[in-house]
């Protein structure tokens, strides 16, 4: 495929183009062609997709690049000498600033965004348990990421490279102030990807909220990250299997949302429904908090989607527009469908549509055009609505906060329809070689693989934890609320 996203390693890096793409940025990177080739080769090693996605619209043939470089080299012998004598940086301050803000936006998505979005939907006696679980998940993920996660996701895995990376960068060995990834410092890339690892397991928590032991969650997160998430990230973004299949995922539809949605559902099924589910009034204790959370998720999602362009450029700008309009369309679609079907346009419906739209646009963020994004939103909103209302009620599983109905379903819609709306005829970024049939095939292949991988392994992990310490709190504790019984605190003393 010729439209890899920022996270992604294209199957056959076109090193010369990459070389140029790095050249035409800033004088500190003007290099004679020999150096350029070397730089290109090294850049192609890990994440050439980064530089590539940035330059989608600006590609110029390598010959011209070489000519420019040669001309300059001729005019500036001293510069060449300097470049050879000293380390030359490929860092772009604008891109680095952009990735810094993207990093903290994705952090803000988890805390307080997701924590509030979820916390507002549980009963007030379980509010703190949700907040604690999300925050602890983020903390655990950060530490595990720099210990072994980054290495497992973004280094060469040798014989296992199709599935997982290796241990070359355990404890960030070898990463230093001079390391670069694309046009940013490697440390920034480490931080940006860290926040993705943090939010993914936190998303899954919503499915089994209000009844899971905190101890079980503290075990689940690092094991699941290690066995499920890091390999998935490697397979999609680190040059593994799915990347080779050509499945496109701009910002994490499969790796993050489908993955978390499946894990959540498995967890919900294994821990069982909440006491009183289907009988008692399990109403959200504060839709105000849910709305704040959803808003911060939307705001933060620019870090997620536009940040996945890995540079402040046209691709990021397109992702920005799409992240606005797909979301708005999905929110409105849910709202109006609910208004028609249930008689009231609810805030919870509107924000649910908003999140569904954000999820759906994630894999497609810069592959589709703005009108494709609107269409995607208009589809995602109502389909998620049907799953969260009718389907869930039919099947009677207790996915407390609809992680499956929103993140899984939204993720699948987005992943599959990326293969449709990227068609140039539909305003997408596919080029003349684009074939909807084969792209759809690759997309569906990616989705199915993710479901299987995440489903089977998540099941085994929950099973193991259940055997060792048990997944669920006592009925009495559940009734009194996890805040007091698990954490010894109370959320509101007004």
């Amino acid at each position: 495929m010729n439209l890899p996203s920022a996270h992604q390693t294209p199957p056959s890096p076109t090193s010369k183009k990459e070389g140029f793409s790095m050249i035409h940025r800033s004088p500190s990177r003007w290099r004679p062609s020999g150096l350029a080739a070397a730089a290109a080769a090294s850049a192609a090693g890990l994440l050439p997709g980064l530089a590539r996605a940035q330059e989608l619209s600006q590609e110029v043939s390598a010959e011209i690049a070489a000519a420019v470089a040669a001309a300059l080299a001729a005019a500036q012998p001293a510069a060449e000498a300097a470049a050879e004598a000293a380390p030359v940086s490929g860092i772009d301050s604008g891109d680095t600033a952009f990735m810094a803000i993207s990093t903290l936006l994705v952090l803000m998505m988890s805390i307080p965004g997701l924590a509030l979005f979820y916390g507002g939907m549980v009963r007030s006696k379980n509010m703190l348990s949700v907040l604690t679980q999300v925050l602890a998940t983020v903390c655990i993920a950060c530490v595990v990421w720099v210990f072994w996660g980054y290495s497992m996701a973004f280094t060469d895995g040798g014989g296992l490279n199709d599935y997982v990376g290796g241990f070359d960068k355990l404890f960030l060995r070898g990463v230093d102030l001079a390391s670069e990834t694309g046009t940013m410092p490697e440390y920034m890339f480490v931080a940006f990807q860290m926040t993705f690892a943090a939010i993914t397991p936190a998303l899954a928590l919503g499915s089994f909220a209000e009844r899971m032991k905190f101890k079980a969650i503290v075990l689940f997160v690092p094991i699941w990250l290690t066995l499920v998430y890091f390999p998935m990230a490697h397979m999609v973004w680190g040059g593994g299997l799915l990347a080779q299949w050509g499945a496109l995922d701009f910002a994490g539809g499969t790796v993050v949302h489908i993955n978390a949605g499946v894990a959540g559902l498995i967890g919900a099924l294994m821990v069982g429904p909440r006491l009183g589910f289907g009988k008692e009034h399990l109403a959200p204790h504060s839709l105000t908090m849910t709305m704040i959370g959803a808003s911060l998720l939307w705001v933060g999602w620019f870090g997620f989607n536009a940040g996945s362009a890995a540079a402040a450029n046209g691709v990021a700008a397109l992702a920005t527009v799409n992240t606005l309009v797909a979301t708005a369309a999905a929110g409105l679609a849910w709202l109006f469908v609910e208004w028609t079907v249930k008689g009231h346009p609810s805030l919870l419906g509107l924000v649910s549509g908003v999140i569904g739209g954000l999820v759906a646009i994630t894999p497609a963020a810069a592959f589709v055009g703005p009108m494709g994004a609107v269409a995607l939103g208009l589809i995602a909103g109502p389909v998620c609505f049907v799953f969260c209302t009718t389907v869930k009620n039919r099947l009677k599983y207790d996915d407390s906060l609809d992680v499956f109905g929103v993140h899984f379903i939204g993720g699948v819609i987005g992943a599959v329809l990326t293969g449709v709306f990227m068609a140039p005829g539909l305003g997408g970024q596919g080029d003349e070689s684009f074939s909807m049939g084969s792209q759809l095939y690759a997309q569906i292949e990616g989705v199915v693989f993710t479901i299987l991988w995440s489903g089977v392994l998540s099941f085994l992990i929950f099973k193991l934890i259940d055997l060792v310490i048990g997944l669920r709190v006592d009925a009495d504790k559940e009734r009194e609320g996890l805040d007091l019984t698990e954490h010894g605190e109370r959320a509101w003393n007004l």
């Binding site: 009718t390 009620n393 109905g405």
Partner: protein
């Protein structure tokens, strides 16, 4: 002395208090709660889940009055809290044995 309990619609509190003050009642205690009765509640829908809420928000007044004030107090509440629509509430009168003012220790009607 009589102990009067009144369940009223929340937005009627101020008028009721004024009506009671007008006839010489000098104190009362108000608490919030929810009532169940003829007045129907509402339905709340949160994603797939629909909840029929049978209770409606009400205020509860309680006041101790001298025997001779009791009827007028009931009448005052009724006059002020009435909208004529279902759910206006009730007034209950109980007999009381004693009242004490904590600050001074006075008892009986002096305590009111």
């Amino acid at each position: 002395m009589k102990f009067i309990i009144a369940i009223i619609k929340p937005f009627k509190l101020e008028e009721t208090r004024e009506a009671l003050t007008a006839i010489g009642v000098t104190g009362m205690f108000v608490s919030e709660g929810k009532g169940f009765g003829r007045q129907s509640g509402h339905t709340e829908i949160y994603r797939g889940a629909e909840y029929a809420v049978t209770f409606v928000p009400k205020l509860r007044l309680e006041l101790m009055v001298a025997d001779d004030l009791a009827d007028r107090a009931v009448e005052a509440i009724r006059g002020a809290a009435q909208t004529g629509r279902i759910g206006d509430g009730k007034i209950f009168v109980l007999d009381a044995l004693q009242a004490t003012r904590i600050r001074t220790g006075e008892t009986g009607e002096d305590a009111l």
